[in-house]
């Protein structure tokens, strides 16, 4: 039941809209099936599956709205949920920021977010992914801990103004950490995709094992400013932090994107001119739903163009206050890369640090987008164009804005994975000068 086709969803939603007696109505129908496996200490620890489907109905009278939900879909239940939402709307306080639902939208055809292969993942596939880590690890005096999670789901919405939107999507996320049994080395790898046939858990496990073995017996290096080569995962960890480009917060003066003296940084150059970041729901490698949560159509749109802020996100209410067109949040992030490989960037570095990933990044000052965090799972010292030896982890205090002003080289784009969740995006590896490491950590 959890995955309804477009026709099945449309049929249910039409009935819901038909029951409405309010000024207007909007209904959202969503479902999801998911599964996961988790392993540690070279053994499977937990694993599970879950399934859910639900209908949410919002009715409104003027600027008063009420929402009710249900997970039964016979006619009587549908009528009941509509009636409940109408009762609630009549009791609700007026919301001065309430926006009437959108009329019909054009989304440009079927999205690319569904993979039949991913939808067919079985418990046996998940168990094999664990085996692909545990087997090779045990042979090399290494201990594997990892996690694979897959989902298939759909979202549909319809309203009394004639809008209907439907999308279905699949996804699979895999992460693995390999630690040497003597506790002196650790390596990590992560993969994410809509299409499971594009990820290889055995290859990722091999990468993590290699990192664990080569990071053994790290030496301490003095904290300070260093040239860094950031693998794509490390770069993505920091780049994502500058993309909460909310226009309202900026207009209100409480965001990095606010301008001193008033207004926003829209149109201002904030980073190196080689930085280009955009969103595009139709991108082949990182497709997203062609519509945002409120039903607005997503389209290809620049966020940062040649280092300049090209767009901020305006919700419909704020856009109406500012007399501009609303700009919905994108469903993915693509940062243009260059042609340099990690090896090329190392070769060009006299003295620097190779960061494979960061960890526990938290905001310090929202005004300058200053963040703190640490390197983790394999960090190396570079000298005269070569990796010299593994080094102990560092804590950094740095802003992605300062970092992208100190850009030396852009590497190749990769599917973005980060230390705390995988954004739907492509981010390149990069070389940065004067990156601020402020203390040493003994953590391995």
């Amino acid at each position: 039941m959890a995955i309804l086709s477009k026709d099945e969803a449309q049929q249910i939603l039409k009935k819901v809209i038909g029951f409405s007696k309010a000024d207007g109505i909007q209904a959202n129908l969503n479902g999801n099936d998911g599964g996961n496996i988790r392993y540690a200490r070279n053994s499977v620890s937990t694993s599970g599956e879950d399934s859910n489907v639900g209908l949410g109905v919002q009715s409104y009278y003027g600027k008063k709205s009420g929402t009710a939900t249900i997970n039964e879909f016979d006619d009587a239940s549908l009528e009941k949920v509509v009636k409940r939402s109408e009762e609630l709307a009549q009791l609700a306080p007026e919301n001065p920021e309430f926006m009437e639902p959108l009329g019909p939208q054009t989304y440009g055809g079927e999205s690319k977010t569904w993979s039949e292969q991913t939808a067919k993942i079985t418990p046996e596939y998940r168990a094999q992914a664990a085996a692909n880590s545990i087997g090779p690890a045990s042979k090399k005096e290494v201990t594997a801990a990892g996690f694979l999670e897959d989902n298939r789901g759909f979202n549909a919405m319809m309203n009394s103004k004639g809008l209907f939107a439907y999308n279905k999507a699949t996804g699979v996320d895999f992460t693995v950490t390999m630690r040497t049994n003597d506790g002196t080395g650790s390596g990590w790898a992560a993969r994410t995709n809509n299409d499971v046939s594009k990820i290889n858990t055995a290859d990722a496990s091999a990468v993590a094992i290699e990192k664990a073995l080569s990071s053994r017996n790290a030496k301490a290096l003095e904290p300070g400013k260093y040239t860094v080569v950031l693998e794509a995962a490390a770069a993505a960890d920091l780049v994502r932090l500058m993309l909460n480009m909310n226009a309202r917060q900026a207009d209100e003066g409480r965001s990095f994107y606010s301008k001193k003296g008033g207004g926003t940084k829209l149109g201002e150059k904030i980073v190196d001119e080689r930085v280009n970041i955009y969103t595009d729901p139709w991108h082949d490698e990182v497709p997203s739903s062609p519509w945002a949560g409120d039903g607005q159509a997503r389209k290809r749109m620049d966020l940062i163009k040649n280092g300049v802020v090209s767009n901020l996100f305006y919700d419909r209410y704020w856009a109406s206050q500012k007399n501009v067109a609303p700009v919905p949040f994108g469903g993915n992030t693509i940062m243009q890369g260059g042609t340099a490989s990690i090896e090329d960037m190392i070769k060009d570095t006299k003295r620097g640090v190779l960061v494979t990933r960061f960890w526990y990044i938290r905001p310090v000052d929202p005004q300058t987008l200053l963040y703190t965090g640490l390197t983790r799972d394999s960090t190396f010292y570079i000298e005269n164009g070569k990796i010299k030896h593994p080094i102990k982890n560092f804590r950094f205090n740095e802003s992605p804005i300062i970092m992208l002003n100190n850009l030396e080289t852009l590497g190749k784009q990769e599917r973005a994975v980060t230390s705390e969740g995988n954004p739907n995006g492509l981010i390149p590896s990069m070389k940065i000068r004067d990156f601020t490491f402020s203390s040493l950590s003994d953590a391995i």
Binding site: T46, G48, G56, T67, R254, S258, W359
Partner: protein, 546 residues
Amino acid sequence: MKRRDFIQLTGMSAGAMMMPFTSFASPVELSRLLDPLMDVQQKKQLADIALNTTKSLGATYTDVRIGRYLNQFVITREKKAQNIVNTESFGAGIRVIVNGTWGFAASNNVTAEGIKKTAERAVAIAKANSKFQNEPVKLAATPSYGEVSWKTPIVKNGFEVPVKDKVDLLLSANAKAMEKGANFVNSIMFLVNEQKYFASSEGSYIDQDVHRTWPNFNVNVVDRASGQFKSRSAFSAPVGMGYEYLDGKAEDKIEGPGGIILYNKSYDIVEDAGMAAEQAKQMVTAKSVEPGKYDLVLEPSHLWLTIHESVGHPTELDRVLGYEANYAGTSFLTLDKWQSKKFNFGSKIVNIVADKTQPGSLGAVAYDDEGVKCKKWDLIKDGILVNYQAIRDQVNIIGQKESHGCCYSQNWSDVQFQRMANVSLQPGKEPLTPQQMIAGVEKGIYIVKNGSFSIDQQRYNFQFGGVLFFEIKNGKIEGMLKDVAYQSNTQEFWNSCAQICDERDYRLNGAFNDGKGQPGQSNAVSHGSATARFNGVNVINTGRNI
């Protein structure tokens, strides 16, 4: 892509979308929050179907959790009630051991047929995984408690308080903040009710009704000319109490150093919002800190987070053993340090306990999510590491026979695992007030309320910010500072603990949303302490010019 990306809630403002909804929570109407939905006997019948199904398929152990998770969010900004959201999540999670291997499945189809199917799936998953099992599960014994129940001892059920009263209270707080010079204020009332039914193949049938309350706000002052904006969050704590926490009784107000007002077992949100605006204005012109070594005087509304990150997490046995290696990380408190019985975690005055029963705390329940009766135990005794936090399938690894009773799942849809109990620093034994403590500090900083935080994956190196910082010079508070963060190493830091105020100053703080696990789960946990002094800690300046 995460499962929650598929869940799109209707009628949500941007503010509401940022709220920490648990998986599968759906908006519901108000009346439904007070409807019991299903009685205990119906739940028992359904649980028995699961227990019989899994037993017939070869499970050697099964537990069933039929859970109903209710939340209410009342969200306002300045003069506007932005959103009132009631959510409900109802379903069942079934966990089994087959061939020495865990299997888990969950569904929101809470019917006899749905439960049976879910039970069959849990067994199938355990069987699939058992092929790669190298470490068969060993469960510590726990008594069978029969049919028992427990409820958070609340005075006022927040869900029964009219929504209008909550909106009016928040709007009064907002108005006070604006009157005192705030440019913006966002406020929220967040109520939680977990109705948890647990049944196991060992004969326990446990019905628990857990309540939590968290009023919170964020006041912003914007100085357009200098381009600065400053925030001051509420001095409230999330609590394991009912709506009585909002009574703001005079006896629960504490006059702290630097002219600040702090709160104990009840909270005055309107008064605090006014103070917040005044303090946020002062932050704009506060002196930027000179980096260097300072003696830190840490108030309980700040110190709780340092305890949480540097003591709570590294004493979790699953981290020590490597079960969290792929995400949250491991721990520097390795088994050899515990076995030595002389690992100096902190100075001799440092005594830290874990407690799942403390009244008013977020973690308080009578039984954990695998049917073990909850208790209090020592983690750090006179500065020495003496124990960990462990559950049924782990205690055998440290040679203990009894689970500590700290197993938790955020929802019926998630598998339960070891989660942090309330972990608290015990007050000092000698009479000492914060004012007396400050009088003895030559060069220091008094820090109030938690701010920025970050710690490494083995919990050695950390950096913490705060909300209010006061400079202490020769025993006196001189004025407000800004751009302050301190960095230290856990063992070094706790060994620099020189003084702890007495029990009169002991208060609880905490968080609704401690994250751990894959898939990630939230845990609500409190941490108590009195104001404490740490000598010679490294302070950095976080100001930057862009």
